[in-house]
Amino acid sequence: MKMRQQFPRSIGEIMDRDERVVTLLGDIGVWSFHEVAERHPSRVSNIGILEQAMIGVAAGMAKTGLIPVVHTIAPFIVERAYEQLMLDFGYQGLCGNFIGVGASYDYSGLGHTHYCPGDVDLLSVIPNMQIVLPGTAEELDRLLKEAYDDGQPTYYRVSERENALSHPVRLGKAEVVKTGKLATVIAVGPMLDKVLEAAGDLDVTILYYTSVCPFDYETFRQYHRSGLLIVCEPYYSGAVLKAITEQDGRFSGKVCSIGIPKSYITRYGTIDEEDRVFGLDPASIRARIEAVLKEQAANGRNDGGSRNI
């Protein structure tokens, strides 16, 4: 089952046992929720195409103790209703769950209005916003059920890209996939399979993150020993490095950041085609990692100073 099919099922199961949960749909995913709506007609609503009001209304519901789940396409939650997320939920400390589909260029034929590579960057500015990037349907189910009522606003980034295997993920906790000596590779959400294909045979540590906020700095600190950090992110690159430097203002070492560069994405086509353009396919990731390892070896390890490669 894909994540897109999983989350209505997960939300339905949560709603079956928790009467506080309400679901608001921005005229997206309505059919996938029809069974849940039949079971809970007063608590599932297709509110219409008015995303800013939808987030504000959800915040009002949260004020009374209900737990809203809000769903539509990522840019319409994150970018169009950003101020509502920040002021109504973030600043006022309300619990809410925001499930966005259309991560980065998942709607690869629809153009820039429907792409959302900047969601993680934007949301990470909201101090108490939790940002979750599951890699599989099972992980999404696990993370939703763990965090839906934890009192925080949480963004769940549902991606068309998925990993083959699930990990026993928890909110704010990284998984150690393998350890090695030459570098630390951080794979965020659906980047894990690409990283494993690209670097699984190399002598590197691979850490798997399904939460960017809160960021599990402790696991990173414990396992990052090589002096070379390689971050693989499926969005505008940089959020992980920012999370690390927020925890450790003296962080130093070489950094290779692999993600989507900040630019308008003007093409259409397929997700694979975009991945190749941005070097996010396994072969390109392999080439980048080999290049930085080679440079690292030539310069000698742990030669001090922080710089991007």
Partner: protein, 257 residues
């Protein structure tokens, strides 16, 4: 105390607070003061000892910049005891816009226009889901009616048949210089609201309007005067966000006496 005397005293407190703090929106506060006074004197089913009671009525000031007027009424009604003159000082809980995490009695933090109305609609809708009979009042300014989220929310309120919601429009024509709202009563009626109009400074009319109930959400168009009570401020845009000088303060206090 006779009502008009009480209103004049509260206006003097507001003026003194803004003069001392060198901050605040006096004219906007004077525009809504009678509405708030009537709400907190016999309309809202809530009290300082029931601020966490789920059955309490809710009031949301969507035009948050009129905060000092709100604080003065909350103080008058016994919700807060902080000196109003502390407004906007470093450690004060009383900011230039109301913060629900700091000020007792404030239900929703507002300031950026167009946020309070959607949240009020969400509260009213949630109360319906919870079969809670409490009523929700939200006050917006006519300038705020430029915001799309207000109209989006009104659509939802109508669609959900939120007859536990009263939308109050502080219609002081401050937006006339930017966007003509046209016949706002017709617009609200077309959006499915039961529309009631009142002189926004006549307490009897206001009370009747605010207690109106229907099988749909109610809109109270309160015809108000921005800066009501001070001739120089009346409908003068320059006084939207201005602190009086020492001479102006003395003259205005005398005018309110």
């Amino acid at each position: 105390m006779e009502t008009q005397t009480a209103i004049r005293e509260i206006k003097k407190q507001i003026l003194t607070a803004c003069y001392t703090a060198k901050e605040g929106h006096v004219a906007s506060s004077y525009s809504i003061l009678d509405i708030l006074y009537v709400l907190y004197h016999g309309v809202l089913n809530c009290s300082p000892d029931r601020m966490d009671d789920p059955a309490r009525d809710r009031f949301i000031l969507s035009k948050g910049h009129a905060a000092i007027g709100y604080y003065a009424i909350l103080a008058d009604a016994g919700y807060i005891s902080q000196p109003l003159e502390s407004m906007c000082s470093f450690d004060s809980c009383l900011g230039g816009h109301p913060d629900c995490n700091k000020v007792p009695g404030v239900e929703v933090s507002t300031g950026s226009l167009g946020h309070g109305v959607p949240m009020a609609v969400g509260i009213a809708w949630a109360l319906k889901i919870q079969r809670n009979a409490a009523h929700v009042y939200v006050l917006a300014g006519d300038g705020e009616m430029n915001e799309g989220t207000v109209w989006e929310s009104l659509l939802i309120a109508n669609h959900q048949k939120l007859n536990n919601l009263t939308f109050i429009l502080d219609f002081n024509h401050s937006t006339d210089r930017a966007v003509d709202l046209g016949n706002v009563g017709d617009k609200l009626s077309a959006f499915g609201f039961e529309v009631v109009e009142a002189d926004g400074h006549d307490h009897e009319q206001l009370k009747t309007a605010l207690l109106t109930r229907a099988d749909r959400p109610v809109a109270v168009i309160a015809h108000t005067i921005k800066g009501c009570g001070i001739r120089e401020m009346t409908n003068e845009p320059a006084w939207h966000h201005r602190v009086p000088t020492q001479e102006e303060y003395a003259a205005f206090m005398e005018e309110l006496a």
